[in-house]
Symmetry: C2
Subunit: 351 residues, 2 copies
Amino acid sequence: MAPAPRHPTMADVAERAGVSASTVSRTLRGLTTVSPEVRARVEQAARELDFAVSRQAASLVTGRTGVVAVLVPTLNSWFMGSALNSLGPLLRAAGMELNVYVIPDMTERTSFFERLPARRNADALLVFGFDLTDEETARLDHLGMPVIYVSQHAHGRPSVYVDDVAGAVKATRHLLHLGHRRIAFAPTVGASGFSFSSRARLHGYRQALTEAGIPPDDDLVITMAFEDKRGLVEGVGHLLSLRQPPTAVFAEQDELAVAVIHTLRAARIQVPEQMSVIGFDDHQVAEWFDLSTVAQSPSDMGREAGELALELLNEPEGDQTRRHIVLPTRLIPRATTAAPSLPQGEGASES
Amino acid sequence: MAPAPRHPTMADVAERAGVSASTVSRTLRGLTTVSPEVRARVEQAARELDFAVSRQAASLVTGRTGVVAVLVPTLNSWFMGSALNSLGPLLRAAGMELNVYVIPDMTERTSFFERLPARRNADALLVFGFDLTDEETARLDHLGMPVIYVSQHAHGRPSVYVDDVAGAVKATRHLLHLGHRRIAFAPTVGASGFSFSSRARLHGYRQALTEAGIPPDDDLVITMAFEDKRGLVEGVGHLLSLRQPPTAVFAEQDELAVAVIHTLRAARIQVPEQMSVIGFDDHQVAEWFDLSTVAQSPSDMGREAGELALELLNEPEGDQTRRHIVLPTRLIPRATTAAPSLPQGEGASES
DNA sequence: TTGAAAGCGCTAACAC
DNA sequence: GTGTTAGCGCTTTCAA
């Protein structure tokens, strides 16, 4: 780096082009009230000086920062990666920057809500998949910028989420149609958010069972985490040791489903012959495992959320702020679900 | 949102605390030249008004934006997710924001390098895994801020990367020790960056073979992408149809390794009995597949890169700017590699 | 230890 | 169409 290569300012460009700074500003912002010749001169001068507008200075006067902030529990997940992968370029195209706040644990979370660093440094905030307390939500309400809840339904506030309940119903019905009657549900621990989806899927699972005249059995609901090998072995062991063990498992997400399959196979339980397994997501890994699943599209979610954000930013303060976008799911039956091999009945495992 | 809940300014805080704006500024920045009583008054006033400093205004005068920008080919990858997951909180702790530029394709890339939007909007830039042209690198050199190359070695510029060559040597030697002589290497297409690693791993593979007295055979190097099922089938088919087919495959990354295993099994080729497969990464999926692999730690990479960035920012313009950090790898043998079942020799597949 | 004043680089009224 | 002027909200001399 050179000693102090001071960035050129608009004044520099103005001087070089022989115009005023306002004209440079107008030109660079694409306002039409600039004559073609002047525009050409200004653009060339800017190019020659390799000039870039300082957002800082601009936003000081416009009151807009040109950045959209996202609050995420983690970046290391298929869901977040896909969502932000579509959100990023979308914002870029609109001339906005993407600012990311990664909040992996409670400490970070507390400090985030205390200081609210996004406060004056973004025009809108997208909150991904956190299960916020009322207090936290209230705090965000006073942020002074549009806040959009993504991958969760926030009462009375703009949200974008997938229809988790319907998706879970599809998965459960699929198993029911195959003849399963003892169906386990494996939610995953929400240390890092997304427990909204978790609860919605549990709800859909219960609903489908109830509709089929099967009373939900809490013994069949067992929380596990795909990173926790030990917990998996215990959880799966618990299910297998039940008086009436399940013949199918519906895992809250594909990665967990795959981990469950891995654990089952390690215990010499054949999938799907002895146990059907279905996931949720249609994660890349689902294909490798021929995993039956319910597909959702995080890319669509990122896109919808981004578009909604841009809309709210350009909206004439309308009370359109309580919009909800619900995205669909799709059942994808593959090879890890099949009809149960044994006839169902009381004490099947006893004999 | 209220009609226009104007953010309180320092002047507001100053008034409320009965001091000048400068004193508020000094207090909030933790300068010691403020008497305890005044400090207390100011802090309380700030709290009561829920005041937050405007970075925009501050950076206008300090010349520092308080943001670190990262340029990434994608966010939807284990590598990037892990790296940014550790980078984010680290920057937060240092009071910096994380700005992400996702550049998924050539169009976006061209436009990024044309406009260089990070230019006046960040204090440092971390470039992840792109294979930049000399022209692009030169452009970054003139950005007027520290630029750190991550997951790649950039000639004469600060870089953080894993020792891909050594890692690839470990993987290849592992197969050699098991008795393999025909070892394929599967690099993956670098549409979205990371071809630096790709080439380094190829190099390590060749080096290990050469050391073992085996001339590298380009017929055994076949590029595939784990998302491209068709390409996988063709690629694997190609290897199997060789006059002397390989007995082991070293895939550039775990996800590809897993896809290869999936493809092999679909073709009724047993792993590792008929074909050993080893990956690179120690991705989560490696465990589920009992995949032998070479571990690297993207979290460490993110951390090192972040620390280096902070260092360069606080450094007295020293010429320390050409620092290199090389991270280690570790071989993790699991169940997808084993000794070849057939004796090696010419025309083994002919008989 | 504190305050007054100047100004960072830009945009928005308002004139011309 | 284009230039002039007046700040946006901070930090930073410089005085006191």
